[in-house]
């Protein structure tokens, strides 16, 4: 943190000085820049303080349970029903987003239409809109007197306060993931390949199926996994619309909250550990998928 005031930097870096360790990445060049110890040290310190130590509390707390206690907590019928709902609804929502997201990304990249920029900006709404707001407004729409609900209810279709409502909230939450992972890859795909496919006699559908789809597959899967992972942990938007009936429409995060409210810290911790392990696995899967994508795009470039 030397406070010495040296003359202002020239705006253009002079070329000859760089000759030593510039573009050629020699081992020495990496340490020319200062601040490695400070920034890495601070980043690690902060990471431990905010993330790693509190998360380890979860693991240690679980160790205070006997195996039997742990097993009863994470496998009681009510908890098992919540896993089924959380995973089933998340999977369904992620599948809907897989197709819907691909469609939106395709339309945004390939076609021109009025208002395209606004539509493009709106894709990120679920990232920006607080989940509680999404929850109450989706409930208002789908309830018996809501804009959509009033047309469905007479036909015996009930969406709000049922597992179907959970799926709808999770579709909302996961919508941007597939769009935002596929969009840049679709922008980079080379039209030459499609032209070649067409000139070799492929129909448009064959071109899509055999040429375009394989090239966007890693991105598509990454977006799918991200939407799925996000949906599993989601709480705010779901609890308003789910109705939260035990065994029927109660999601796993709500089980944790319920146990906490009854001061069953051990039970809450055990279920939370199960969710944490699943999050870890999903994070590794997403990382692997992103690695696949990098390799794929590196290979074609």
């Amino acid at each position: 943190m030397g406070a010495s005031i040296s003359p202002a930097l020239p705006s253009k870096p002079a070329a000859p000085v760089l000759r030593g360790g510039g573009p050629g990445r020699s081992g020495k060049a990496k340490r020319v820049l200062p601040g490695f110890n400070l920034t890495l040290g601070y980043a690690l310190f902060y990471l431990c303080l905010i993330v790693l130590i509190p998360l380890s509390a979860l693991v240690f707390k679980t160790f205070t349970l006997s195996w039997d206690q742990f097993w009863t907590a994470v496998s009681s019928p009510r908890v098992l029903a919540s896993y089924r709902l959380t995973f089933g609804a998340s999977l369904l929502a992620a599948i809907v987003n897989l197709f819907g997201g691909l469609l939106v990304a395709w339309v945004l990249v390939r076609y021109h239409f009025p208002g395209k920029r606004i539509v493009d900006a709106l894709v990120d709404l679920p990232f920006a809109l607080p989940t509680a707001v999404a929850g109450i407004s989706l409930t208002a729409l789908l309830a018996g007197n809501g804009w959509i609900g009033q047309f469905l209810e007479p036909h015996g279709i009930k969406l709000a306060f049922t597992p179907a409502g959970v799926v709808i909230a999770l579709i909302f939450i996961g919508l941007p993931f597939v769009v935002r992972t596929v969009q840049p890859v679709l922008e980079d795909t080379e039209k030459e390949l499609e032209e070649a496919a067409t000139s070799l006699g492929a129909t448009r559908w064959q071109t899509f199926w055999r040429v375009i789809l394989p090239s966007i597959m890693p991105a598509l899967m990454t977006g799918f996994a991200m939407a799925f992972a996000r949906a599993i942990g989601e709480y705010g938007s779901v609890i308003f619309i789910a109705g939260n009936m035990p065994m029927v429409s109660e999601i796993t995060p709500l089980i944790i909250i319920g146990k906490l409210e009854q001061y069953d810290f051990a039970g809450a911790t055990a279920v939370a550990l199960v969710m944490l392990v699943i999050s870890f696995v999903m994070l590794l899967v997403i990382n692997a998928l992103q690695g696949w994508q990098r390799k794929r795009s590196g290979g074609t470039a």
């Binding site: 040296s6 930097l9 253009k12 870096p13 070329a15 000085v17 760089l18 360790g21 510039g22 050629g24 820049l33 601040g35 490695f36 400070l38 920034t39 890495l40 601070y42 980043a43 690690l44 990471l47 905010i50 993330v51 790693l52 998360l55 509390a57 979860l58 469609l103 939106v104 076609y111 539509v119 493009d120 900006a121 894709v123 920006a128 809109l129 607080p130 509680a132 707001v133 109450i136 407004s137 208002a140 804009w147 709808i168 909302f172 919508l175 000139s199 448009r204 992972a229 942990g233 989601e234 709480y235 705010g236 308003f240 709500l254 810290f265 939370a272 969710m275 944490l276 999903m282 994070l283």
Partner: protein
């Protein structure tokens, strides 16, 4: 569209048909995409506005003037004002270390930075209860010294810091990796200090990415519900943030009031999207302008050798 015989025009159309769809399919797909977006994104937004104004503007404003609503707004602003700078400093430090240097364990560190995104918000809240709660690690000690963290503002801040932890770092790391270290090395070699290099070389290069990360972090910090719900204790007028206040009102069947506060959060979301889009468009334009400019920098030795 003009000129060219019928034969030529049909040839052109056939050539284009290889890389796009017929107009019917095109408009069908656009229509489907817009219907999907309209149903899942536009309708909920419209519902917030109409529900909030259902009993007229006066009832809407009355709901916002309520003291509990005000204290929720104040608390939300305070939490965001503490959270965003904390994660900003971390984001810049982590991005500098990860993007500008090679070290062992870098891949693990990058994954760990992303970890809070994968953890359920409810679990995020729970871990702080386990550390600072009455039955937690530091619970007895904190009670002895009369310090409240859980069911108080510090707990809310901690939980919010956790869920918004990766936003800025994640935005900066790929950006700074793509920019490389050449410009910073040049600055250092020319005698600049580390801080000068950061302020005058790195910061101007990353300013848009930084701003982008900050507004996304801010939006999430103000809107976080699950994690904050676990640690807040829902004390009206004291530990209710705006999203929690929305929940309380909604559960008390005060629909107009709930949607009135929710409408403020929806406006926040829309403002966030507008700023984000402006940043993206500016960045696009800058990139285009840069591409149009003749190369300003003298060629590197490698370029010279290749020429």
């Amino acid at each position: 569209m003009s000129g060219g015989g019928p034969a030529l025009r049909s040839n052109v159309r056939r050539a284009q048909a290889g890389t796009t769809e017929s107009p019917v399919v095109r408009w069908l797909l656009i229509g489907l995409a817009l219907a999907f977006m309209g149903l899942f994104l536009v309708l909920p937004l419209a519902a917030v506005a109409t529900e909030a104004l259902r009993k007229g503007l006066d009832a809407y404003l009355e709901a916002l003037r309520e003291p509990d609503a005000w204290s929720a707004i104040r608390l939300t602003l305070i939490v965001a004002a503490i959270t965003v700078p904390l994660n900003l400093v971390f984001g810049v430090a982590a991005a500098w270390a990860i993007a500008k240097f090679e070290f062992r364990g870098k891949a693990i560190l990058t994954t760990l930075v992303d970890l809070p995104f994968a953890v359920s918000p409810v679990v995020a809240g729970l871990i702080y209860v386990l550390v600072f709660g009455a039955q937690g690690w530091f619970g007895p000690w904190l009670a002895e010294h009369n310090i409240k963290i859980i069911f108080a503002v510090p707990g809310i801040v901690l939980a919010t810091v956790f869920v918004t932890f990766p936003f800025i770092a994640r935005e900066l790391i790929p950006l700074m990796q793509a920019q490389g270290t050449d410009e910073e090395q040049a600055a250092i070699v020319l005698g600049a200090t580390g801080w000068q290099t950061f302020w005058r070389v790195t910061l101007p290069n990353i300013k848009w990415g930084l701003l982008y990360g900050v507004i996304l972090c801010n939006a999430r910090a103000m809107g976080e519900f699950g994690a904050v719900s676990v640690v807040s204790g829902h004390i009206r007028g004291q530990t209710n943030t705006m999203p929690l206040h929305v929940e309380v009102l909604y559960n008390e069947y005060q629909s107009v009031a709930a949607f009135a506060v929710a409408s403020l959060l929806a406006i926040l979301a829309l403002v966030t999207l507008v700023i984000k889009s402006v940043i993206e468009w500016r960045h696009e334009r800058e990139m285009k302008a840069l591409a149009d400019l003749p190369p300003e920098r003298p060629p590197t030795p490698q370029d010279a050798a290749a020429a």
